[in-house]
Symmetry: C2
Subunit: 467 residues, 2 copies
Amino acid sequence: MRIHHLWALAFSWTFAIGVQAEARKPADLIVNGDYVLTMVEGEAALKNAAVVIRDDLIIDVLPSAEALARYDAGRVIPGKNRVVMPGLINGHTHTAMTLFRGMVDDLDLMSWLNDYVFPMERRFVTPEFVRIGSELACWEMIRGGTTTFVDMYFYPDEIAHVVDRCGLRAVVGAPHIDYPSPGFEGWEDSFAAARQFVDQWQGRHDRIRPAFAPHAPYTVSAEHLAATVDAAADTDALISMHLSEGPAEVAQIQSTYGKTPVNHVAELGLFDQKLIAAHMVVLTEEDIQQVASAGVGTVHNPTSNLKVASGVSPVPDLLAAGVAVALGTDGAASNNDLDLWEEVRLAALLHKGETGDPTAIPAQTALALATRIGARAIHWDDEIGTLAPGMQADLIQIEYGDTNQLPLYDIVSHLVYVLDSEDVTTTVVAGQILMQDKQILTINEAALRKSVEDMASRIRAALSKGS
Amino acid sequence: MRIHHLWALAFSWTFAIGVQAEARKPADLIVNGDYVLTMVEGEAALKNAAVVIRDDLIIDVLPSAEALARYDAGRVIPGKNRVVMPGLINGHTHTAMTLFRGMVDDLDLMSWLNDYVFPMERRFVTPEFVRIGSELACWEMIRGGTTTFVDMYFYPDEIAHVVDRCGLRAVVGAPHIDYPSPGFEGWEDSFAAARQFVDQWQGRHDRIRPAFAPHAPYTVSAEHLAATVDAAADTDALISMHLSEGPAEVAQIQSTYGKTPVNHVAELGLFDQKLIAAHMVVLTEEDIQQVASAGVGTVHNPTSNLKVASGVSPVPDLLAAGVAVALGTDGAASNNDLDLWEEVRLAALLHKGETGDPTAIPAQTALALATRIGARAIHWDDEIGTLAPGMQADLIQIEYGDTNQLPLYDIVSHLVYVLDSEDVTTTVVAGQILMQDKQILTINEAALRKSVEDMASRIRAALSKGS
């Protein structure tokens, strides 16, 4: 007994000296999880692990016990019954359209656009509308664990300021189009404003990257698209656009230019820029090869593409060719929410049915589309999409273990096929906690609700007069 | 002033006499809603309305203010920010497979069945397994607002007793199959047990209807299917089976019998019984006509059919031909949950993409598949599927108005495209409250969780040894 006791004492001294010799390093935040999914290619889920954050960066990913021994953090978030993973990336949306959520559904695309969306946009879309609608979108995205989004909507300056304030990360696209749009008479003034927006924001904000957003090849002429290419090349800015969204577009571009939409915009030089191409539903084999070799990122919007009956992007073929594919919700008017978990689940299911191959887009791949692969698709994989030292600290915690979710055999399968946005508890972007224990910290919810209700009352009145 | 006061007094006397003259009628429960969707064909949502219940029946549906004046109810559930609608109907599931939820995914069907599902079933499926797994399934269904389900799994007597205890409503199918299955050597003993089960339960329980459940035309011989038909005719019992689930089945039945699966089982007399045919993915025009004229109910399982790559049931064609279609989750092993809201949403989205028609399966129809039309498909529309006097009191309340759900323009669109199972607050079956304010009242959650974890530990151990 005596000897054992002495030995234990000696051991505890050595241990204490060992810890003292290696003083604990300073950190701002440690986020723990029963599971940590780094989403680094080939890395399995870590059990009982932690992500250590200093300023806006991840400085370590290691077992929870070691994290507490090695780091002295101002704040520690416990990990019991929680998974930690990179924040989700929404590759394509029109944030302020949240205010048109469910305004009208289940119509053919032309009635939907011409009888409802365009007239309501002409009537209601102002800087104030965009500020309120974007804040509502950011609220929903923080709540559901989306940390980065790619936006394309009117008054992008308002959107960028909302992003700045609420703490999310975004590619904010400045739309330009050959037709009248809110605030503009046509291409000339909308393109000039886009140039100004890009000049103002490029390289000026850690979490915001501006983009040129020419609407689509059927709404912006070849000459005007070429001007976008020149402007993007001058500024090294991203380009975000709708491309090859459905059969009608393909037929129109084919008849006007004698080419596929992909060939058409590639020849205009868009594929030489950092392009984010949303939808990409109708593609030839040759289109896919061209997209792959140019390093164009694509965005799969499964819910929206089904809802407006465009079709289904050939994601398995794109991935096989080496194309980076992100997932997108599109605007809330054609979804009708910004819940990326539904897109992850649908991406995993849909292609199995489409291809007849139940191994198509396995759960791990579906999750990668919303994180690592999605980051590559939006040309931001230098900073986000995985949890590793040196990457931006954009991460989320998801709670598992409600009775209706039992039992658990595989955490990745669970995340994709069982859990959903309601289960997200914590959202961190660039080291800042935007939501903790399901409480959003950076947006005044009561004031937001009031603004949304005021705007919705006016829209409701217009809808009832119109009917 | 004086005159006004007197006038008011006189008025209040008259009012009091009026109420006394028409004494308030007794009721057990009044459930209010900002909106009440009766789901009766052609009826719009009622605003600020109430459903009045006595014993197990709905006795009135009327404005909330009138309900309080006319009925004296023991219990009143308020309706602020809540929608009331019929409970959802899950037309096809294998309840106890909840214990295999997410055990293995994303494999081709034959590996999934032969390497995992069948061996694990042979090893683990006992009456105790079925009791625990079914209780877990019932917990999940009550939580998500499903009030009726159609089941097909081993040890149906265990399932029926769980249904009896937890208060749900179910068609419980007794499986019979030409191969060894848990508890049985083959067709003969499994069919004898099914006969016994049907005899025991037919007409004996208000909420439970037994069914013969021959597995499928490729696992039960023609001769044995004919025996099922005779037994169902003798007892007036339902038949529930898998039919025309995928191309492999169609090819096999075509090569063995020279017919489509639909023709094959119709000629054997199954279409002369009250048949619930699950899946119905691969169908000819003639098949659809035959199903319609026979009054066969079909069950569309969109998630499961995508996940195992069977395809998509031609629901718009079935509905156009007058066939009653229900929605089903299938078992949790191929879904991986029993969340009928996901099936409603997917049913609304999927056929738009499949047919290229954005008006296919509008939101109102998708909701009817899970209620009124689904009730017809499972041959129980005499008692459930709509809220109307004389119908069974099976209903749910769903809360709306979370910030991420704002704004609201159309409650039906909202239910289908925005809200989900987490928003269900109240579940009532046959007048009994099974869940109130998201608290389930009829199942001991702590004991259930312990039983599930014990069983899951044993399954986990077997999985890790097998790998």
